[in-house]
């Protein structure tokens, strides 16, 4: 009797589950999953005649110089930005968590998130331009200290443009990271810290031995979300320098866009499968590692 009732409940749950999920699942199927399957198939075909060519498209993109450059730059950008963002966020979140005015500070840091990219790019252009504000300030600093003369460095047209992007990314996403860190820090039970203090632990010891080890879970999500947001840097890059920027700034996003404009769908399909598959594996691995740790 009891077993029967349980089966009835499972059945009812399943029905309710699918009824609530159906519209979304249907859309995801039509707009995401099936088309991606289509792309997967196309990655083994030629564009026009749709002949099966095996792994030829994959061979083409891996020997393609633009692809190599874009992958190199994207990887470099990721490996520079994410650790930097994570550490800067933590360094700010730690003192802020002890402040009374944490709310105000948090919202100030979050504000760049609300700034439309097109808006902020106007400002960056004025700052990093050859005769822009940064060089003006540096020149005045040089005059004041007497150490150097006028500075006319072109940040946007040289390899420094990469660092302009890094700066812009951190400027925009610091608030997001700080909020996540703060949530992690405030989630640590207060009794734990109180007990340590009663036992005579210094503030530094509290931070090193209690707060940091307890933030491992936050670290995982911060890394994942920073990564997700790092792809959106394309907007800044595109608006500052257009579709074919200085080569240190040429990211995978540029390459995809240019292939799209040129209708190079075969290369695009192969690259989408590679990048998508790679991301899938990385996310799964990270999740596995994290699950084992906690």
């Amino acid at each position: 009797m009891k077993a029967k009732r349980r089966i009835a409940k499972v059945h009812k749950d399943t029905r309710a589950f699918f009824l609530f999920l159906l519209p979304s699942l249907f859309g995801v199927l039509i707009f995401v999953l099936l088309p991606f399957l289509d792309v997967f198939v196309r990655s083994f075909q030629t564009v026009v005649t749709k002949q099966f060519v095996g792994f030829k498209n994959y061979g083409t993109i891996f020997s393609n110089q633009a692809f190599q450059l874009a992958v190199k730059n994207t990887v470099r950008f990721t490996f520079v930005c994410i650790p930097l963002l994570v550490v800067i966020g933590l360094l700010i979140a730690l003192p802020v968590s002890k402040m009374k005015s944490a709310g105000t500070i948090k919202s100030l840091y979050l504000f760049p998130l609300a700034m439309p990219t097109a808006t902020i790019v106007i400002v960056w252009k004025m700052v990093f331009y050859k005769q822009g504000f940064l060089n003006l300030i540096l020149t005045q600093l040089g005059e004041w200290t007497g150490l150097w003369g006028e500075v006319h460095f072109d940040y946007l047209g040289s390899s420094a443009s990469f660092w302009v992007l890094v700066f812009s990314y951190i400027w925009k996403n610091a608030g997001y990271t700080i909020v996540l860190w703060l949530a992690g820090i405030l989630g640590i039970p207060n009794e734990l810290l109180e007990a340590a203090r009663v036992d005579g632990a210094s503030e530094r010891q509290c931070t090193m031995k209690i707060i940091l080890p307890n933030l491992k879970g936050s670290l995982y999500t911060i890394v994942i979300l920073s990564f997700l947001n790092s792809f959106k840097i394309y907007r800044e890059a595109y608006l500052v320098a257009g579709a074919y920027p200085e080569q240190d700034m040429y990211l995978l996003q540029h390459l995809f866009n240019n292939w799209f404009v040129n209708l190079d769908f075969d290369k695009m399909a192969a690259a989408a499968v590679c990048v998508g598959g790679f991301l899938f594996v990385v996310i799964m691995l990270l999740q596995r590692v994290w699950d084992n740790k906690t």
Binding site: D13, T14, A16, F17, F18, L19, F20, L21, S24, L25, G27, V28, I30, F31, V32, P35, F36, D38, V39, P95, K106, L108, F111, P112, A114, M115, P116, T117, A118, T119, I120, I122, V123, M126, Q131, G132, F133, N135, L136, T139, H152, W171, Y176, V179, L180, S218, T221, I224, L225, F231, K232, Y234, R235, Y238, N257, F260, A272, V275, L279, I283
Partner: protein, 291 residues
């Protein structure tokens, strides 16, 4: 000076340094806004004077003045009263963002509810798939979106932007976080009282899971108000463009215009930001929840 005094002094200094370290980035956040606001009320002549190094190859620097000599709303009135194109794009932006958010509410919220409340075989795997989809960047999905939009004959219409966004899985994930915070016993109690599933969703789920839902809306607004990749790829007709693509079209020669447009683009985002700040924060925290 006694040791105690010295220690107290040192503590003060340390505190001062911390405050300073936190204030510097704050300044970095505020300066761009000051720059934009002052630029938008400067007369064109004055702007040209300040920005002339941009047009000439001379070696002098750009300059600025926080309080313009002759503040004027000339650029605002020109933009608001004499540029019909601007209104079309502003309206496009509002329309697209509104449709996307409404669609996400209708589609994403029930889906989140399904994942949060019902433990069905396979639901965890499906949810993991949703999470991965939410993390894939637009460029990876660009070709597949193009293919399906082409097949449905939606290219170069605003549906091409709206529909794929409606089925984005990010809001599902955020709303899910909100629903998970409701104690399950509430649903059990309601079921025992004879409430149907739909009733439980409307009467308990929606009111109590409001924060997750609103946070998805706030983050969604900021994201789609700023949307560039999708319209750039799928809309050729410039009269369908959102405002976020109009701004980059303005050249330096019309700098005053650019500043004014920036400010007006910024205003709705600022309102949503101020109104929804708590939800925004909540949303960020939900986005960091483990599934």
């Amino acid at each position: 000076m006694s040791l105690h005094n010295c220690m107290a002094r040192w503590k003060d200094i340390k505190k001062g340094i911390t405050v300073l370290l936190i204030m510097i980035p704050t300044l970095l956040v505020c300066l761009p806004i000051i720059l934009l606001v002052t630029g938008s009320v400067m007369s064109n002549g004055e702007l040209r004077q300040h920005l002339s190094p941009v047009f000439s190859d001379a070696l002098d620097y750009i300059s600025w003045q926080v309080v313009p000599d002759y503040p004027t709303f000339e650029n605002y009135s020109k933009l608001l009263f004499m540029t019909p194109q601007f209104f079309i794009l502003f309206w496009n932006s509002i329309k697209m963002v509104g449709c996307i958010l409404a669609g996400q509410l209708l589609v994403g919220v029930p889906a989140a509810w399904a994942f949060a409340v019902y433990r069905v075989k396979g639901s965890r795997a499906l949810f993991a798939l949703y999470v991965v989809l939410m993390l894939l960047p637009f460029q990876v999905m660009m070709l597949s979106s193009y293919l399906v939009l082409n097949r449905l004959g939606m290219l170069d219409t605003q549906q091409a932007i709206i529909l794929p966004a409606v089925f984005s899985t990010f809001p599902v994930f955020l709303t899910y976080g909100g629903f998970r915070c409701i104690p399950m016993q509430l649903f059990e109690a309601a079921r025992i009282d004879g409430a149907g599933e739909l009733r439980i969703f409307c009467k308990i789920g929606l009111p109590l899971g409001k924060s997750g839902l609103l946070s998805a809306m706030v983050l969604g607004f900021l994201e789609y108000w700023n949307m560039m990749e999708q319209p750039m790829a799928f809309l050729e007709d410039k009269s369908l463009w959102p405002l976020s693509l109009y701004l980059p079209e303005i050249t330096w020669a019309q700098a005053g215009y650019a500043f004014t447009t920036s400010i007006i683009t910024l205003i709705p985002a600022v309102f949503v930001f101020i109104w929804g700040q708590d939800y925004l924060e909540q949303g960020i925290i939900f986005s960091g929840l483990k599934e």
